[in-house]
């Protein structure tokens, strides 16, 4: 079902750009969780047969990405009573342009000699690269702690897409790695966001500037 897979991946690429261009933090959180759900479905459509372990891993991944992480972040938003805008370091339009450049670069990159093989025909590798790069852009150009965590989650989504290529050969490693990464994401959100909020009455990392040269 390569067409269905590629359709989902195109939507994922589009969601990347939406996440970069959206000014409302709540929407960005929802976009990224939608991306996570789509990706969680991918292993089930990609490989013809479905094992119980794969189903379980996909289920846990989707529950974490679609329900637990977004609701924790939305709760933190509410509790912190912070402004609901994103506050980027660079404007939204430049962010989108950067993201589009990253996507184009990723699509070109896989046509390099030595990388072309059957997987390169599908969009898996370029979408993975593009999503990792967009995650990086989100991480480095946003001030709020929550936005940075969102960037981390997008980065993690990109790695997950690459993991799809390996999931048949190394199911355990891929599933364990991805779930552990998500767990770390939750750990970071819950502990630090709560404490930053309590100590600084804000989730803005611009307050975290006492340690510098």
């Amino acid at each position: 079902m390569p067409n269905l897979v590629n359709t989902i991946l195109v939507i994922v690429l589009a969601l990347n750009l939406f996440a970069l261009g959206n000014s409302r933090l709540m929407s960005v959180i929802r976009i990224v969780s939608a991306q996570g759900v789509l990706l969680g479905l991918l292993p089930l459509v990609m490989h013809g047969h479905i094992t119980i372990a794969a189903l379980l891993a996909a289920g846990v991944g989707i529950i974490l990405k679609a329900i637990i992480i977004p609701s924790m972040m939305l709760r933190a938003l509410r509790d912190a009573d912070i402004k609901r805008e994103v506050e980027p370091l660079i404007g939204f339009l430049p962010s989108i342009i950067l993201g589009a450049l990253a996507t184009g670069f990723s699509l070109l990159f896989v046509t390099l000699p030595g990388l072309a093989d059957e997987a390169a025909v599908s969009l898996v590798i370029p979408t993975s690269f593009a999503t990792v790069l967009v995650g990086f852009i989100l991480l480095t150009t946003r001030y709020k702690a929550i936005s940075q965590v969102v960037g981390y989650l997008v980065l993690e989504n990109g790695i997950f897409i690459f993991g799809l290529l390996l999931v048949e050969a190394l199911p355990l490693v891929v599933e364990m790695g991805v779930l552990l990464d998500l767990f770390v994401g939750i750990f970071v959100i819950s502990i630090i966001v709560n404490h930053i909020n309590a100590a600084f009455s804000s989730l803005d990392t611009r307050h975290l500037v006492s340690l510098k040269e």
């Binding site: 390099l112 030595g114 990388l115 093989d117 997987a119 990792v132 991480l139 702690a145 940075q148 981390y152 980065l155 993690e156 990109g158 790695i159 690459f162 993991g163 290529l165 390996l166 050969a169 190394l170 355990l172 490693v173 891929v174 364990m176 790695g177 552990l180 990464d181 770390v184 994401g185 750990f187 970071v188 502990i191 630090i192 404490h195 930053i196 100590a199 600084f200 990392t205 975290l208 006492s210 340690l211 040269e213």
Partner: protein, 478 residues
């Protein structure tokens, strides 16, 4: 035995979490560390065997070396931690003691792992158990430091996972099957897909390099080392970084076995020299002596990378430097912690005349500074000199010259701050009295310095054999 070495520290950690008394809980650390050291000694006296290719947990010479180095560090630090927590009796130490103890379990996992996915999990676990150690004081600065550590560290670890996937794919793309078992990857290294292998190396260098603390991914280090208690700094500078370094060495082994030595060594020499340069520049005029030590750690991780990049005889030097750097960082961080607590500050504006106020700690701090900057007769001199000899023997004159120049830069930068701390008159507002120096916070530092001195004068034959075996595994991984 591997399972015992993972489970025993976890049992002690669980025990510490349940123990009700804040006052007596810290003693779980030395008890656990002694048991752990005995187990490690039992493992290390057994003759080395070649790990079976299908074993997930097995110990080769590299693993044995790291186990020896880090379990020694852990043992000494655990006694210091008791003295430290006594002086911080008002803070709840339940999480601190449990996480400190759990670090030993993760260390076991790192040294035994023969599966790169498992190794990655272990490095991720290090991030999780070490973050609460930085956060111990729970003030604004330590929150900031923990936040930076977790965010930068998690991104680094995520990139390492990406690189690990690339590595698996480099075999899948050509052979149609994948494996992350070290033995299998080494045996099939020559047939791996080159572009994917190189991309994997770069991502793993950046990913594990973040945990090692190479410039420019070192940004979490000064904050974390500066705000964490001194004993945690020692555990990071000699333990966490060594574990991440071992994870990186596995990748290095695969690349060497694949015949990518030229590509790898060019990148490593660049990263190493760049780390030394950045560290040296930030040391000049550094007023915070704990951040100074963090930059020193960046510098020494750079030296390790240079040793790997040169190869040949320098590999022995790099292996020895892992040990000597860990021991000497132990002296520096533990005594820096003592000075920090006695003055209530870690800034040279307030801290002067430490030799008069804390003669033993300050004397050890000064000796540790001389040792870490490569003065004879201490251990780091021997290891740094071996790396220099390796560079000259392989005809890398430019590298050797830059290496010497940067060592000089670091000596000047570090010396200025260290001398400001130790020399001069005690600021008058502190009063004439001398704070009492506890044996528990002095003896571990003295032990570290003695071992560092010993390794500078004489390398015991069993250790020498282990170092040579480890260097051989790096030069000829098969």
């Amino acid at each position: 035995m591997a399972f015992a070495m993972i489970l025993v520290p976890l049992l002690f950690a669980g025990f510490a979490a349940l123990w009700p008394s804040n006052r007596w809980r810290p003693w779980v650390l030395p008890a656990g560390a002694v048991v752990y050291a005995v187990l490690a000694a039992l493992v290390l006296v057994q003759p080395a065997t070649n790990p079976a290719p299908e074993a997930w947990l097995a110990l080769d010479a590299l693993g044995r070396l790291m186990l020896l180095a880090v379990s020694t560090l852990f043992l000494f630090c655990s006694f210091y931690a008791v003295g430290y927590l006594k002086e911080r009796a008002s803070l709840n130490n339940r999480v601190f003691v449990s996480c400190f103890m759990a670090f030993a379990a993760v260390l076991s996992l790192v040294v035994w792992a023969r599966h790169l996915g498992l190794l990655w999990v272990a490095i991720e676990a290090i991030t999780l158990v070490s973050a609460p150690l930085i956060y111990f004081k729970k003030d604004k600065q330590s929150i900031e430091a923990t936040w930076k550590y977790l965010l930068v560290g998690s991104v680094g670890i995520a990139l390492a996972l990406f690189g690990t996937f690339f590595l698996a794919y480099s075999r899948l793309a050509v052979a149609g099957e994948a494996s992350l078992m070290l033995g299998e990857l080494l045996a099939n290294a020559a047939s791996l897909s080159r572009p994917w292998l190189r991309a994997a190396f770069i991502l793993l260098l950046v990913g594990y390099g973040t945990k090692i603390g190479l410039a420019p991914m070192h940004t979490w280090k000064p904050d974390a080392y500066g705000e964490a208690p001194g004993v945690v700094g020692a555990l990071f500078a000699g333990g966490v970084t060594s574990c991440a370094f071992l994870a990186f060495l596995r990748v290095y082994q695969i690349c060497v076995a694949a015949g990518e030595t030229v590509f790898v060594s060019r990148l490593l020499l660049f990263m190493g020299l760049f780390s030394m340069l950045v560290a040296g520049l930030f040391m000049i005029g550094q007023r915070d002596f704990k951040r100074l030590l963090a930059y020193s750690s960046v510098e020494h991780m750079g030296i390790l990378m240079i040793g790997l990049g040169i190869g040949g005889g320098a590999l022995f030097g790099a292996m020895l430097h892992v040990v000597t750097n860990g021991l000497t960082k132990g002296v520096l961080f533990l005594t820096a912690g003592n000075i920090d607590r006695a003055y209530g500050s870690k800034n040279t504006e307030n801290v002067r005349g430490a030799l008069k106020r804390l003669p033993v700690s300050a004397g050890l701090f000064l000796a540790g500074f001389l040792a870490i900057t490569g003065s004879p007769p201490f251990g780091p001199f021997v290891s740094e000199f071996t790396i220099l000899t390796g560079a000259v023997q392989s005809g890398r004159w430019l590298t050797a010259g830059l290496y010497l120049l940067l060592l000089l830069l670091v000596f000047i930068g570090m010396g200025k701050t260290v001398l400001k701390v130790t020399q001069g008159e005690v600021p008058p507002d502190l009063g004439p009295g001398r704070p009492r120096e506890r044996l528990l916070t002095l003896l571990p530092a003295i032990g570290f310095l003695a071992l560092s001195l010993l390794l500078g004068l004489y390398i015991p034959p069993p250790l020498g054999g282990l170092l040579r075996a480890a260097a051989r595994l790096l030069e000829h991984p098969l």
